[in-house]
């Protein structure tokens, strides 16, 4: 198992390097000069000052040399200095990683749990009321734009019911930051970000449950006199849930993309919103740093998925 994990990590390195090189080139050849955004104000700056800032940001060198310096720095564990924040990229990103992963992981867990529960009951009782509700939730969840869903949730829970904040995170200096305060701030973004995954999980679980509940080994289990709940949750669900895990894992990258939208709607200070803003600011070092974090995150999640697979399905063995 350890050898397998090591091999997977080694295999991921060239992939991540390719992602970095391609994105470095794409970002740098896209129109937009960060120096012009750095120096704004009243138009009184001199061209010498522009050159000085270009030099300071390391943008005066040829693109190839910039790429070489960047890659060398990556291997040394240095990600450079943010043009906009004027701080080391590692610091800028590090303070936002927990907040985004908190949102993404909680929304994924919520979507997987709720979706699987809904799918199980729908699959167990096809064409019943629960099944119809499952269908409606799935179609609604998959079709609705998440930014709009987020705004609807704000209207309902923050404006009309007035029980949850419209966005942001707790403010420690204002006496916030308790566990409950975090829960209140997380409810709406987690619901919004999880809605698509929930729909997918519910539909896939239902379809698999329908198929599996019609199989011979389920009939055998029933003939043996096992309790219905044992049949459903121990024998059927364990098989039905495998494709759901695959889909959720594959969609993890989409969750990070969705976080970009949800973090904007809910003023959530995470990586997604920072990426969105950094594109407009042409903050190349931050963008490259984010790409590293996100690429590594996706690789790790995929690896964890494969390991969960082996745990759930004894037939899968990694050597």
């Amino acid at each position: 198992m350890h050898a397998y994990i090591a091999r997977r990590i080694l295999e991921a390195i060239p992939l991540i390097l390719l992602v970095l090189v391609m994105n470095f080139i794409i970002l740098h050849i896209a129109p937009g000069d960060p120096v012009f955004l750095f120096i704004q104000g009243g138009g009184g700056a001199t061209e010498e000052y522009v050159q000085q800032v270009r030099q300071m940001l390391g943008l005066d060198k040829p693109l190839g040399e910039q790429l070489f310096i960047f890659m060398a720095n990556v291997f040394r564990g240095e990600l450079g200095f943010s043009h906009y924040y004027q701080r080391p990229v590692v610091d800028v990103i590090a303070e936002r990683i927990p907040i985004t992963f908190l949102l993404v992981i909680l929304s994924t867990l919520f979507a997987a749990t709720a979706g699987i529960i809904l799918g199980v009951f729908a699959g167990k009782n096809p064409y019943s009321l629960v099944d119809r509700i499952n269908t409606i939730v799935a179609v609604f969840g998959y079709a609705i734009p998440i930014f709009w869903f987020g705004q609807l949730l704000i209207l309902a829970f923050s404006i009309y019911l007035n029980i949850l904040p419209t966005g942001g995170i707790p403010t420690r200096a204002m006496g916030g930051g308790s566990f409950l305060d975090w829960v209140r701030h997380l409810v709406l973004p987690v619901l919004s970000l999880g809605v698509i995954q929930l729909a997918l999980a519910a539909r896939i679980t239902r379809a698999n449950m329908l198929e599996i509940l019609g199989m011979d080994y389920i009939d055998s289990a029933r003939a043996k006199g096992l309790k219905e709940n044992t049949i459903i949750f121990k024998h059927a669900l364990r098989n039905a849930v495998l494709p759901v895990i695959t889909v959720i894992s594959v969609n993890f990258a989409f969750q990070l993309t969705g976080a970009m939208i949800i973090e904007t709607v809910f003023s959530w200070p995470g990586l997604g919103r920072m990426m969105f803003e950094s594109v407009f600011r042409r903050d190349y070092p931050v963008l490259m740093g984010l790409l590293i974090v996100m690429s590594v995150g996706v690789v790790i999640i995929n690896l964890i998925t494969d390991l969960i697979y082996a745990y759930l399905d004894p037939r899968v063995v990694y050597e």
């Binding site: 000069d33 009184g44 404006i159 709607v265 407009f280």
Partner: protein, 537 residues
């Protein structure tokens, strides 16, 4: 599904009710913590909390809360003492002596000396502040500190804006940092830009990037102690989220950036008030012509294009009435009224006349149905600009000019317009202040590849000579005559045309805080005197 509550079987509804009650309780606890605190919504993080290279709205609106400068502006935009309790001007207007307060201290309790102010002006403002660079940096000969509380500024030539809060030694050019923390360091990347030891009425507490910035009252402030205990800047990028947070009362003030589409709705709700107001800066969308591109070398074409645009329609449809149709070439603010030349000939909207001008200028309608084709580049950084571009395209279609709109994100637009000069016409947000140095925009010296410089390529020897004469003219009457003539040249040559004198939309929660003295809310980003805002109880 059954849930066990206190050892008994209960309905899941009980659990839901419990969670709901806890959430509501959390809400009331949170609200209780907000007394004596003003929460302000801004759209993005500032780059830093420092006067060093402050150049964006957010740098100023947040950063300058932490610093004192030699003087501030009163509601009439006149200088009032801040760090300097008084000042003297020599008869030849070449020497300014500022007498500093003796009780002024930094937020770490150490005294503010003239050496700190000198360092802040010389090393920060003049070297890294572009507002200062356009005037002040060219005229200051030396700064001396005969003692810890006296600052003497000697000029090479008279500079009438010296005591002007925008272009002079006000907040832009003398916000005071502690020399000891900056001297001998890379000032742009100095860590104190992010955790400032300031000199103003509010002291830095916490900055969670992307979320909020908290200031608290500085008890040792040299001026009148602020009534507010805390000021919180919440960063809410999405305009609708900003409006909803304001509606719910999570923020009590949105300075300048209430989404215009939300103004009417918010004003119809109790306790909300959105006011339209100008600012000392004035942000004016301007259609600039590129003199390097055919046919814009032709004055008649520029005039016809201007006459072909219905600016009043832009005010009504894009700005929801929050502004006036663009006229002249200087921002229309109460502080610029004294030198705005209303007699300079204006080009009125008249598509028939515009068509005739183009006919006479040698641009008849050709067989393809158009006189000529142009591109219009705008930034998506301002939501109104695309709407204006579409209406302009529609207007110019009537005079048979085919417009192709290029919507560029802010960085790409800067590159196209200011670096590469690659545009026919462009909508540019003009923000140059209410003082005559703003006219430097069209100076030949200002034709350089820098953001907000003279990207049009317009060059006029008489205009340049008049500007050079005006910038050091201390006789008010003569100065006015010169600026009047400069405005006549601009009206005649028309290198660009103001589209809308747009007003800022500021949202205020009524009844929570006083708005006195006049101007606390409306003076603008530099002059938000939050130290004078008082909670109403």
């Amino acid at each position: 599904m059954r849930t066990i509550v206190n050892g008994k079987k209960g309905s899941p509804m009980l659990l839901i009710l419990l969670v709901g009650a806890l959430l509501c309780l959390g809400g009331s606890l949170s609200a209780a913590a907000e007394k004596d605190t003003l929460t302000i919504a801004i759209t993005a993080d500032p780059r830093n909390i420092s006067p060093v290279s402050a150049s964006t709205f957010h740098d100023w609106v947040v950063g300058y809360r932490a610093y004192s400068s030699l003087f501030q502006a009163d509601p009439d935009f006149q200088p009032v003492p801040d760090l300097a309790e008084s000042w003297d001007v020599s008869p030849d207007s070449l020497t300014y002596t500022f007498h500093l307060k003796r009780n002024a201290t930094f937020h770490d309790g150490t005294p503010i000396t003239s050496g700190d102010v000198k360092f802040s002006i010389e090393e920060l403002a003049l070297k890294h502040g572009s507002i200062c660079a356009r005037g002040l940096a060219t005229v200051i000969e030396s700064i001396e500190t005969p003692d810890n509380h006296t600052l003497v500024v000697r000029l090479k030539a008279p500079y009438p804006e010296m005591l002007n809060p925008y272009d002079g030694l006000g907040p832009h050019c003398s916000a005071c940092v502690k020399k000891e923390l900056y001297e001998g360091t890379d000032v742009i990347n100095n860590p104190h830009n992010f955790k400032p030891v300031g000199s103003g009425p509010f002291k830095f507490v916490e900055w969670v990037r992307g979320s909020h910035i908290v200031f608290e009252r500085y008890e040792g402030y040299h001026g009148e102690k602020p009534a507010l205990k805390k000021v919180v800047f919440r960063i809410i990028g999405d305009p609708i989220a900003r409006a909803l947070a304001f509606e719910k009362g999570e923020v009590q003030w949105i300075p300048f950036e209430v989404p215009r589409s939300e103004v009417a709705r918010l004003n119809n709700l109790p306790d909300n008030k959105v006011i339209f107001h100008g600012s000392p800066c004035g942000t004016i969308p301007t259609l600039l012509f590129n003199f390097r591109k055919e046919p814009f070398q032709n004055k008649a074409v520029r005039k016809a294009i201007t006459a072909g645009i219905d600016k009043q329609k832009l005010v009504e449809l894009v700005y929801f009435g929050g502004g006036d149709a663009g006229i002249g070439h200087i921002p229309l603010t109460p502080f610029s009224a004294w030198w705005h030349n209303r007699d300079a000939r204006q080009i009125e909207y008249n598509p028939e006349v515009a068509a005739k001008i183009l006919d006479r200028a040698g641009y008849p309608v050709k067989s393809d149905g158009w006189r000529f084709r142009i591109n219009l580049k705008h930034t998506t950084g301002y939501s109104e600009h695309l709407k204006m571009a579409e209406l302009i395209k529609d207007d110019l279609k009537k005079i048979k000019v085919d417009v192709t709109i290029a919507s560029l994100d802010h960085a790409a637009w800067h590159e196209h317009v200011f670096k590469n000069w690659d545009f026919d016409v462009s909508i540019t947000p003009f923000c140059g202040g209410p003082t005559p140095p703003t006219l430097k925009r069209y100076h030949t010296e200002n034709i350089k590849r820098i953001s907000w410089a003279n990207c049009t390529g317009f060059s006029n020897a008489e205009y340049d000579a008049l500007f050079d004469l005006m910038i050091s003219q201390t006789n008010a009457k003569k100065r006015l005559q010169i600026t009047n003539r400069m405005q006549e040249i601009l009206a005649e040559e028309n290198p660009g045309t103001f589209l809308v004198h747009s007003k800022n939309a500021t949202g205020i929660k009524e009844g929570l805080f006083t708005e006195e003295p006049k101007g606390v809310w409306v003076l603008g980003y530099l002059w938000m005197h939050l130290d004078r805002v008082k909670p109403t109880k």
